[in-house]
Subunit: 407 residues, 2 copies
């Protein structure tokens, strides 16, 4: 981590070497078939590993078994998680903040991960959650109209609500709607914009002179929800610690936020970082809505889902059945197995599958069938829950309001 000094402010710029994996909010490209080297990334980003000690403490503090996304190292990295656990142990409140950039009207499997985990955190800690939909960002980066991005935000919000968030504990907002409804939010944006120079966003995000000024100031908008006074109707103007669960490609925004927060009188937000949900074709890139063949959408039919997995899911199996039986498959690169680590909750079953595939006892086709049998009901149940999210329910989640907490 390079701490450059400019205007008396550390630059929180991360050096990237030619042989490093590319990980930023717009690109994830690994050099390896097994995907991003996350241990190396922790060192490069200067975050901390979610180690056994932290996992043990999590269980001790919450009194609940850890979520499989946590115990399997999918949420693998953190910043200041111990201070959040201290806060909780001391009986003091904190809140969760996560977000989503609405990129298409249909979300995919990978998009569910931070939300599934957030729901678990919300349940075990009993804390409020704010979810930012960055429809403004999408207009600035893509050639789409505000109305279109705003509509995508609503569509995505229905998928998010379908994950099961408690309506009494959750506020979902679109920037294009909410910033114009809350003077405190805009005021915090200005406070943050006053602390960050062009040099810094150039260093952190790679912005250049030909970028539009909306892009250049956007990072302040993603930072603002980490400041609790941006939600006066929820927190009554109190300063509360914030925990942000997100995929690690969002870390640059929050490195910046952590740099600024103490300078405007707030605690640095804590973070829990997840790995990426790999593309069907392999772990070199993450699943992306812009490539339908690499992606299982939450709107896919059972048939589409089955076909995509059978046709596109990268296999760690051998070239022939004979070879596979003799030498076994490679779970480290097999996408079906990787997806099971995200979605199959039963640890014993997963371990058995790993052993059987590695030994060659089960073939790629069989492994794919197991995955299809796990994902099909999961996606169908999601679709069912989502179909029940009316515009009225959506509006309730997205209305600035008091939540069921007193601070």
């Amino acid at each position: 981590m390079t701490a450059e000094i400019s205007n008396g402010v550390s630059n929180i710029k991360i050096e990237e070497n030619d042989n490093d994996d590319v990980v930023d909010p717009w690109n994830v490209v690994s050099k390896s078939e097994t995907g991003v080297d996350y241990d190396k990334l922790i060192k490069r980003f200067g975050s901390s590993k979610v180690d056994q000690e932290l996992l043990d403490r999590f269980e001790k503090v919450t009194g609940k078994p850890n979520h499989h996304l946590l115990r399997r190292g999918i949420f693998f990295s953190h910043r200041d998680m111990n201070s959040i656990l201290n806060q909780y142990e001391a009986g003091k409140p904190f809140y969760l903040y996560t977000g989503r950039g609405p990129s298409s009207s249909s979300m995919h499997l990978g998009h569910l991960i931070p939300f599934i985990f957030c729901k678990w955190l919300q349940d075990v800690f009993d804390v409020p959650l704010v979810i930012q939909l960055t429809d403004d960002e999408k207009c600035l980066w893509r050639d789409i109209k505000l109305e279109e991005a705003n509509k995508m935000a609503y569509e995505n919000a229905k998928d998010i609500i379908a994950v099961g968030f408690d309506i009494n504990k959750t506020f979902i907002f679109s920037n294009l709607d909410y910033i114009g409804q809350c003077p405190e939010f805009y005021r915090n944006m200005v406070r943050i914009q006053k602390c960050v120079t062009f040099n810094q966003v150039k260093g952190i995000f790679g912005f250049g002179d030909s970028d539009v000024i909306g892009k250049i100031s956007f990072p302040s908008i993603q930072a603002t929800p980490a400041v609790s006074t941006s939600f006066p109707f929820i927190f009554g103007g109190k300063k509360l610690p914030c925990l942000i669960p997100c995929a690690i490609d969002q870390d640059p925004y929050f490195r910046m936020t952590r740099d600024v927060a103490p300078r405007i009188g707030f605690q640095k937000p804590a973070l829990l970082h997840s790995t990426f949900f790999p593309a069907l074709q392999g772990a070199k890139t993450k699943m992306s809505a812009s490539d339908p063949n690499s992606t299982i959408f939450l709107t896919d039919t059972p048939k589409q889902l089955k076909n995509k997995i059978n046709k596109h899911a990268f296999s760690g199996g051998r070239a022939t059945v004979e070879e596979h039986r003799e030498f076994g498959g490679n779970c480290d690169v097999d996408i079906s197995y990787q997806y099971l680590t995200f979605f199959l909750e039963d640890d014993e079953k997963l371990e058995q599958i790993r052993k059987d595939y590695t030994s060659g006892a089960i073939l790629t086709g069989e492994l794919k069938k197991i995955l299809i049998d796990v994902l099909t009901p999961l996606v169908q149940q999601h679709q069912e829950r989502r179909s029940k999210i009316t515009d009225e329910i959506l509006k309730q989640y997205m209305t600035p309001r008091k939540l069921n907490f007193s601070f």
Copy 2:
């Protein structure tokens, strides 16, 4: 005017030579004792002179004598004023937009000029007026807290209201309050921010890499009120032409706005530019609240006002009474005479003073007394009107609401 092309967008950057007067939103420094060379500025900025033909047309269209600030060439330059007059002649609506950067809790004489003129325009055309108080800008440029800048905005608003604006036709807003009350305003900000690159604001405003991102995106906020849909409660979402009366140092903001407006589906705003109100010490700079000796505040007592003029007002008189009687004074550099051109409405009287001072018939002390006799009641009456502006009245002007127009 240099029209650079960057990202397919004209750069609207103005070249400045070493011997040019410095005129930008932050600095006004003339090379000459007679002040800025405004004819040269018109050429450099590419605006149009308010010539006799336009003055005649103004009177013909409004059916009223022109305001002295107009007929004396204080509002000396314009962009597209004829299209506004066409609009009015055709019986079609337009609106006025002006603004103020609240820099201290007391306004000075020079600050009154655009407002006095705006009130006249509002009266003769019977149009709505929106007034932006850029308290956010002040926080970004100066080392003051948001609360302080916001308070200054309210104090300044009381002075503005005291000019006599019709409460049924005028909306005054602080950015720190209003942007968080109107999603349409924020949406237009984003639309504008999408059209302007860092290269462009670098060229237009001289921003650099070490400037904070709040400054870099600020021009979009000053541009937004020129887009009528930013005030849905007034204009009901209609697209209306906008006329911006302002001092010419604000032109860079509106050159940028005129570049962007057609690209987001709006007409370019028209402009009426005023000269600067000179400092007491002379016309090389404009009156500035940051130098009390150069400034007559609207809060000054009659005694302070008298002393400041007698002590500091730069004289165009001769070194001795004898010389003055023989050769006469120079009205072109005499500050007392200059101030009379702004505030003495009677043309004949002003012309007589000019002749008498130029011939040496009246001395500097006598000229200063005339000015004191004009300004003292003016400032006192302002103070009286201002003292009647209660917080309740202030709140009414600053509440987003329907004005007394239907569109």
